[in-house]
Every structure is written in structure tokens, then in C-alpha cells.
């Protein structure tokens, strides 16, 4: 394991200390609870929007805290969901009296910990919490015999758009509804070229041969659905785009497209993938209205990428375009 760390057990807290030192004007960091909060939270009358999960996916979620996006991000251990206490602390920190939206990626651990936190928030704080579970990963086909589709790249879409609506002063039901709409309209698929190494585990989660790729991965370094020979960028893009288009009809619709790096793939490759993805989508009659290319939802140093597509109407596009001022997503502000 080759990492720039001091102690595998201290990775998350030391990184948060670094974040706090680096950006004192942008975010407030509650080191005890490992929560990154907007400097102006709680804002009276504003719905609080929080998200969280295991660490190791940076910039998700801490890089998306700020005006027009998240009010707080809750950081679990690497690839391990945060515990209810942390989520409760975050809920309290952003509760401006209008209720709090929990954005939860659909993993058993995340769902259970958020559930317990919502129960505690109702009991102990009297805060109204709505939870929206994000499950955009088309690699998981059968929700009857699985824990259901995972929450992956679309998390960025949900956080951006729900955050924009909350910023505009909408109420909790409306913000939760738009988040659910984004989930319903989003699909993602990912591929790994290498595994990643959880610091506490000390060695790669899986091994891939020189000519192999894992197709249909999540974001925790877990193996994917199938191991296939690594193809060209065009072939890989095809394997990612096809199941997305097969799952939801995007024909003739506007789309927000993200080509997301898993951490270890350079930007120059992500743009090559974007080129292929754009051609495939346009060939299928999809109108690309907005795009993002870069590392947004990562799995530590894993090489690979994911494609996420949001079927967007004018309402979603307007919220997507609304000002956002966070460490890792910033425009119009």
C-alpha cells in the first residue's frame, strides 16, 4: 500500500483537519462528529439538506457543501457509512426550523444508519426529517434478489438540484419531491480498470489482470458484475451507455451527462470517454444539454470511470443552472 497518510486509522479525521485548515472561509468542520457544515448554517426558515456516507469518495460529499448545494456532509470511515450520532449532529447543525432532507445512497449500511438517525432526530430534536434514497446504478438489475440498485454518480445531480431548490426557500416536501424526481430520472453505470486499497485493509480489494476490467462496479472498490477484457475507450463507453439507454428512454429528451473519474484515471482519458459517450448519446437521439467531466464521485485511487445521465426537463435544467458555490462545484454565484 503506497499512500500519503500517517496512520490508517486516522485518515478521515486528519483529512478533515486539513480541509478545515485549507478552507476556513468556505466551510466549518465539526471534527468530533466529522461533519462539514456551511459557514452560515443553520439558516432560519431554510430546509437543511445533508448527505453523507463512507469517506474515500471525495470530493463527494464534503466538496459539495455550500450555497446552492449541501448544508452539511457527514463523513464515515473509508467506505463505511457514518453512524447515527454523526448524522444526528449534522441534522441539528443545519436545522433552521423548516425540516431536514437526508440524501442517502442506497447501501444497506447507509440506509440503516440514516434510518436510526431519523428516528433519533424525531425523538430527541423534534426535527422533521425526510429521507430520499438514491439508487441510480443500472449494473444492479434485479432488486428482488439484491439490496436494490446502488447510489452512485447521480448523487451529484440530486445534491445539486435539491440544494438549489432548498436555497430558493421551498419547503421540505417540495425539496424531497424534487430529489425523488432526480433519482427517478437518473441512471449510471461504472467500470474499474484497477482496484483500490482501503487504508485499514492495506491491500487491493480485488485483483485485475493487465488486460481486464470490472464492469458494473459500485463506488466502494467492491468487485462489479462481470470481468471482461479491457477494450478501447469507444468500446468501454458503449458498455456503459447501452444499459443506461436500455433502462430509461432518453430519446428526444434533454440530458445532463456526467463522465466521472473513479480517482486514478487522468482527465485526458475522461475527455476521450466523454467524446465517445457524447457520440453514442447523440446517435441515440439524446440532446446533451449540460455536462460535467472530472472526478466527482471517486473510489480512492481506483482507475476507471462512470457515466451518469439525467433526463432533464426545464425545471431540472433551471435548478441545475442555479448558482452554486462549493469547493468542487461552482458556477453562477
Amino acid at each position: 500500500m503506497k499512500k500519503l497518510i500517517n496512520d490508517p486509522g486516522q485518515v478521515v479525521v486528519e483529512a478533515l483537519e486539513g480541509l478545515a485548515l485549507a478552507h476556513p472561509d468556505s466551510v466549518r468542520v465539526d471534527l468530533e462528529n466529522r461533519v462539514v457544515v456551511r459557514t452560515d448554517a443553520p439558516r432560519p426558515g431554510k430546509v437543511g439538506v445533508i448527505s453523507g456516507g463512507g469517506s474515500g469518495h471525495e470530493p463527494l460529499h464534503s466538496g459539495f457543501v455550500g450555497v446552492g448545494m449541501l448544508d452539511a456532509a457527514v463523513c464515515g470511515e473509508v467506505f463505511t457509512s457514518p453512524v447515527p450520532d454523526q448524522l444526528l449532529a449534522a441534522t441539528q447543525a443545519v436545522d433552521g426550523g423548516a425540516g431536514v432532507l437526508h440524501l442517502v445512497k442506497n447501501y444497506t449500511g447507509d440506509v440503516m444508519n440514516f434510518e436510526m438517525a431519523a428516528e433519533l432526530a424525531a425523538e430527541m430534536l423534534g426535527t422533521r426529517v425526510e429521507a430520499v434514497v438514491i439508487d441510480d446504478d443500472v449494473a444492479v438489475q434485479d432488486s428482488l434478489y439484491t439490496a436494490g440498485r446502488r447510489g452512485v454518480g447521480a448523487t451529484v445531480f440530486v445534491e445539486k438540484i435539491a440544494g438549489a431548490l432548498a436555497e430558493s426557500g421551498a419547503d421540505l416536501d417540495a425539496v424531497a419531491a424534487i430529489a425523488r424526481k432526480v433519482v427517478a430520472e437518473s441512471r449510471s453505470m461504472g467500470v474499474a480498470l484497477t482496484s483500490c486499497t482501503v487504508p485499514a485493509a492495506g491491500k487491493p480489494t480485488f485483483e485485475l489482470g493487465e488486460g481486464e476490467m470490472e464492469l458494473g462496479i459500485g463506488i466502494h472498490g467492491e468487485p462489479g458484475r462481470e470481468r471482461l477484457p479491457l477494450g478501447t475507450a469507444a468500446e468501454v463507453a458503449g458498455r456503459l451507455v447501452e444499459p443506461i439507454l436500455a433502462d430509461l428512454d432518453f430519446t428526444g429528451r434533454d440530458a445532463v451527462v456526467m463522465v466521472n473519474g473513479m480517482g486514478g484515471t487522468p482527465l485526458i482519458e475522461l475527455y476521450i470517454v466523454y467524446r465517445e459517450v457524447a457520440r453514442l448519446l447523440e446517435g441515440a437521439g439524446v440532446r446533451i444539454a449540460r455536462s460535467l467531466v472530472g472526478n466527482y464521485v471517486t473510489s480512492l485511487e481506483m482507475a476507471g470511470c462512470s457515466v451518469s445521465v439525467l433526463r432533464a426537463d426545464d425545471e431540472l435544467l433551471a435548478l441545475w443552472d442555479a448558482p452554486v458555490d462549493t469547493l468542487s462545484l461552482r458556477w453562477g454565484a
Partner: protein, 208 residues
Amino acid sequence: MVGRDDVARWLADYAAVVHENAAELTELDRAIGDADHGSNMDRGFAAVAALDPSGFDDAAAYLKKAGMTLVSTVGGASGPLFGTFFLRLGGAWPAEDGDAAGLGAALRAGLDGILARGKAEVGDKTLVDALAPAVDAFDAAAGEGLGAALSAAAAAGAAGRDATVPLVARKGRASYLGERSAGHQDPGATSMALLLDSAARALPGSGG
């Protein structure tokens, strides 16, 4: 019969067992999960072992605090599940510090908590596959005394754990692998079997 200090011995024993087996548990999770089960459990049970038993009035309060501690430190899927188990175990702990039947009822309350929280069934390739048959075996042997019941539970838990190997996972992270999850032992069932084994070793009456 099983008092606060017996529980303390059990939890201390299990914390040591988890620590020793952390690498192996993580290794199992590497194959069909995300390579953190050992460190999750180790972090949680180290925190439980750091609790001072003498600060609690009885086993029930102590067990509930252990459950809270797990919920607060483990995270992931195993945190709420093991946490809920101990919270419910403490909640249903027999007032008289339990005979075998009372302990069996408490164990079932723990199991029910896990089922309610995780919605898994036996055969889904989760820690339920170790715990559910263990609770049944405990009840069946309860008439023969606590020691026999605990041994029966441990044996059933170990068998349940082994039975997870051929299964295709239907809950938790391993379920994403579909058929590829078959042939691997479930990490959570493994740590649950170790917990039952530790109970049989550390709780009183285990000699007979």
C-alpha cells in the same frame, strides 16, 4: 445466573477474538464486500471493551450501553445490526439475571431486532444465517441448562455460518455480485458465529 460481570467477561473475550480475527474478517469482506468488516467490528468492540462494567447497575443497562456504543462507532451495515442486537438483548434481559429460558427470550428479541432493521431472511447469506438457527437451537436445548443451550447455539451458529458458503447473497453489499457471491463465506455470519462461540466459552454454566 448470568450477571453483569459474566457479560463483561463475554464482551472482553469477544473483543479479543474480533481483534485477533479482524484481518480474516476483512479478507472475507474483500471477496464479496468492501474489505472493511474486520476493521468495523474491531473499532466497535474495542470501544465496547473500554466501557467500565462497574459503572452499570446491571447486565441489562450494560448491554444496552454496549449496543449504543456499537451503533455509535461501527457504522456500515454491521453497526446498526450488532448494535440493535445488543440494545434488544439488554432490553429483554431477564430481571433475575436470567435462567436459560429468559436468556433464550432475550436472544430472540435480539434476533427480531436484527430482522426488523435489516429485513433479511434465513438464506439471504447474512449474519441472520448464523443467528437464527442458533437462537432456535438455544431454545431447543434450554431444558438441559444454560451451558448446553449456549453450546448448542454456538454449534448451530457455526453450522449456519458454514452454510452461507454456497449461497447467492440476496441482502447487503454481496448481493450486487449475484452468482459471483456463491462459494464465499459471509463475513457477518462469521463474526456472529464467533460471538456465539465466545458466549459459550465465557458465560457461566458453559462447563455443563
